[in-house]
């Protein structure tokens, strides 16, 4: 049975020939060129695109690094030194990749904050948000295993501490740890499998990011007002409006990244990881990279190991149910006078946890990390469900374009906004 060829609008005969058989050009045109996007994004909406670009850069530099890296406990540390010293521009690849992990988390955390602030996780974008949490978990696993590969002291001891967490689970715990290690301690089999998984997971990430974007293109983007798009007046085509705006943010982001790579490449790394792994010598304090510190602080704030592990993982798992914990029908914090303030308390709590995580769990840091961890859970499990019922939101604007034409008389609308209202 002969299929129906796609009816392509492209004029170029080669593109048209392909497009009638495989309408990828039509799809790109629809999803990225004319894709109607709310016209009131602020620069917070740049961070998704930045994260995608970071993922691509990490994969490209990572593949090039893998060509020169040896996943073997005897060779790993020196092979990284070989990359840094002898491989042409190896130092650049490695510094881009190493600092890129930090950049990836900065961008992702800001992207998530954007989602929290403007209520992007609320109906109908619950699944979109949940896929995002899956992305975060995959990123964390990938970053953790990548950090083990240079086989420095922190690599080794970080891997030991984190994999040991699973031993907290009753009965099966120790079996899980042995299974993860591929032996009875972190050793060559562990390093070898971490390398394999560190190479694999970014491609899984690409797939899940694809789902994230696909889901986004069903619901459409949220926007700083948090109200639905009501008419074509509320939107602009993605290209050239947001390709142009994303490019600005992207350039600034790459600038920040470049300053780290070329001028302070060690600013974010622990000196202990410049010492080869030594299973007989424990560093004075084992700390993860900065992006894991808040979670590490939650773990260490609880005297019971199993409870600490559960609360640490729970701090991310709670995000999965966030769309149902937040009972307020209003998305954007702009129209939620109380939420708008207390979200900053959450930021303070997470930052506080990060600072606590960098210090040994003694003295003031123990009660401080407990207070912050408590507030973190309080925010999601108590405050959000209640606040939606108690808070009186401000009146929402009628539409994005109405809100844009600021009351009190701005210049008359012209161009795209000067068209008569259409029925959506």
């Amino acid at each position: 049975m002969a299929g129906q060829l796609h009816d392509s609008d492209f004029k170029n005969p080669v593109i048209q020939w392909i497009d009638t058989r495989l309408p990828i050009f039509t799809m790109m045109q629809k999803e990225y060129a004319v894709f109607p996007t709310p016209k009131n994004f602020n620069y917070f909406w740049n961070f998704g695109a930045m994260a995608v670009v970071t993922l691509v850069i990490m994969i490209v530099t990572g593949i090039l690094l893998a060509m020169n890296y040896q996943p073997n406990t005897e060779l790993a540390f020196d092979s990284v030194q070989h990359i840094m010293r002898d491989v042409n521009y190896g130092w650049m690849l490695r510094y881009i990749h190493q600092n890129g992990a930090s950049m990836f988390f900065i961008v992702t955390y800001i992207h998530m904050f954007r989602g929290l602030y403007y209520g992007s996780y609320k109906k109908p974008r619950e699944l979109l948000w949940m896929i995002g949490v899956v992305i975060l978990l995959l990123m964390m696993a990938t970053a953790f295993m990548g950090y083990v590969l240079p086989w420095g002291q922190m690599s080794y001891w970080g891997a030991t501490v984190i994999t040991n967490l699973f031993s907290a689970f009753p009965i099966v715990g120790h079996g899980i740890v042995t299974w993860l290690w591929g032996g009875f301690s972190v050793d060559n089999p562990t390093l070898n499998r971490f390398f394999a998984l560190h190479y694999l997971l970014p491609f899984v990430l690409v797939g899940v990011v694809g789902l994230h974007v696909a889901a986004l293109h069903v619901t459409g983007s949220n926007n700083p007002l948090g109200i639905d798009v009501k008419s074509p007046q509320d939107t602009v085509p993605f290209h050239p409006y947001y390709t142009a705006k994303d490019s600005v943010g992207l350039c600034v982001f790459l600038l920040v990244w470049a300053i780290f790579v070329f001028f302070v490449p060690h600013a974010l790394s622990d000196p202990n990881n410049a010492i080869p792994a030594n299973p007989l010598q424990t560093p004075e304090d084992i700390v993860p990279e900065w992006y894991f510190l808040p979670f590490y602080a939650i773990l260490r704030s609880i005297p019971n190991k199993l409870a600490g592990v559960c609360l640490m993982f729970g701090s991310i798992l709670v995000l999965f149910v966030l769309p149902w914990l937040d009972t307020s029908p209003v998305r954007s914090a702009r129209f939620r006078p109380i939420y708008r303030k207390i979200i900053w308390l959450l930021v303070v709590a997470v930052a506080g946890l990060g600072i606590c995580g960098a210090h040994k769990p003694e003295g003031i840091w123990v009660p401080l990390s407990r207070i912050c961890a408590l507030y973190y859970y309080l925010h999601f499990l108590v405050i959000l469900p209640l606040l939606g019922k108690l808070e009186r939101p401000l009146p929402l604007p009628e539409s994005i374009s109405k809100a844009v034409l600021r009351p009190g008389g701005g210049p008359l609308p012209h161009g795209a906004t000067a068209q008569p209202m259409e029925k959506a």
């Binding site: 016209k39 009131n40 020196d78 030194q81 070989h82 840094m84 010293r85 130092w91 650049m92 510094y95 501490v161 040991n164 031993s167 602009v236 050239p240 409006y241 142009a244 705006k245 490019s247 600005v248 992207l250 350039c251 600034v252 790459l254 600038l255 470049a258 300053i259 790579v261 070329f262 001028f263 490449p265 060690h266 000196p271 202990n272 410049a274 010492i275 080869p276 030594n278 299973p279 007989l280 010598q281 424990t282 004075e284 084992i286 260490r300 005297p303 190991k305 600490g308 374009s401 844009v404 034409l405 701005g410 210049p411 609308p413 012209h414 161009g415 795209a416 906004t417």
Partner: protein, 254 residues
């Protein structure tokens, strides 16, 4: 967590560490030297680095390896090909196996790795009780970097009255816990420099730290040069894309 902690404690005790943390004894603040390579324009002072290599070769290398460096790398501190060949040829290094399958030694070439004083860390430990750390990355591998290493080299003093030094350790102001296995390496006048530069302890320490900083980060100068071009490019790109964005958005009320 307790199981993990006790495991660490056991590992710590088994480790035969040089570090015995003496919590009561606080270290003074590290000396803060002016280093030529600091800041976005800084470069290595090559004369200092060359003298520092001489200090390393004559003093440090008797106990410390630098396994990540090859003699050819010394071109990076401005030594000529002839100088490098001569330096490499003056040492005997392992050269694989001979026809009979026995390990073979021979004079080094520029492609040889720096000669290591001991065949492996176990041999070093057997001879010296504590294996001296490899110096290839020492500047990156210590909190405080160059200031820390400079402090250690200058920090050997008599212990304060009442301080109990453990057998085989030495007192150092800047070492965590103050008890360091390394005996004082520099005494001043250890090396006579061809250029007649002063060779007091601080001078020798300054030179060898410069050399070690280069060794830990030999591509720094190139990195910063490329960095400036990348930064300038991105600044211009940011300006251009912002102008384009303004132009594109000029017909939309937003």
């Amino acid at each position: 967590m307790r199981a993990v902690a006790s495991f660490f404690t056991a590992a710590l005790l088994l480790g035969g560490l040089a570090v015995v943390p003496a919590l009561a004894q606080e270290s003074p603040a590290l000396p803060h030297e002016q280093w030529s390579w600091e800041g976005p324009f800084g470069t290595y002072n090559l004369a200092d680095a060359q003298r520092g290599f001489q200090v390393y070769k004559d003093v440090c290398s008797n106990c410390h390896s630098m396994n990540n460096l090859h003699y050819r790398d010394l071109a990076g501190i401005g030594l000529s090909e002839e100088q490098i060949k001569a330096i490499a040829a003056s040492v005997t290094v392992p050269q694989g196996l001979d026809d009979q399958g026995n390990p073979k030694d021979g004079p080094g070439t520029p492609a040889s790795m720096f000669r290591a004083p001991f065949a492996n860390p176990a041999a070093a430990k057997a001879a010296l009780k504590v294996a001296p750390p490899d110096l290839s990355n020492i500047i990156n591998a210590r909190e405080g970097g160059p200031n820390y290493v400079y402090g250690i080299l200058n920090g050997f003093t008599n212990p304060p009255p009442g301080f109990k030094l453990a057998e085989g350790s030495n007192y150092n102001e800047y070492f965590p816990g103050h008890q360091i296995a390394m005996p004082q390496p520099l005494h001043g006048g250890d090396v006579t420099f061809a250029d007649g530069a002063p060779n007091s302890i601080p001078d020798e320490a300054h030179d060898v730290v410069t050399f070690l900083a280069w060794a830990a980060d030999p591509n720094m100068v190139q990195r910063k040069q490329i960095g400036w071009r990348v930064v300038l490019f991105l600044v211009v790109m940011t300006g251009l894309t912002y102008a384009v964005k303004r132009k594109v958005w000029s017909d939309v009320e937003h």
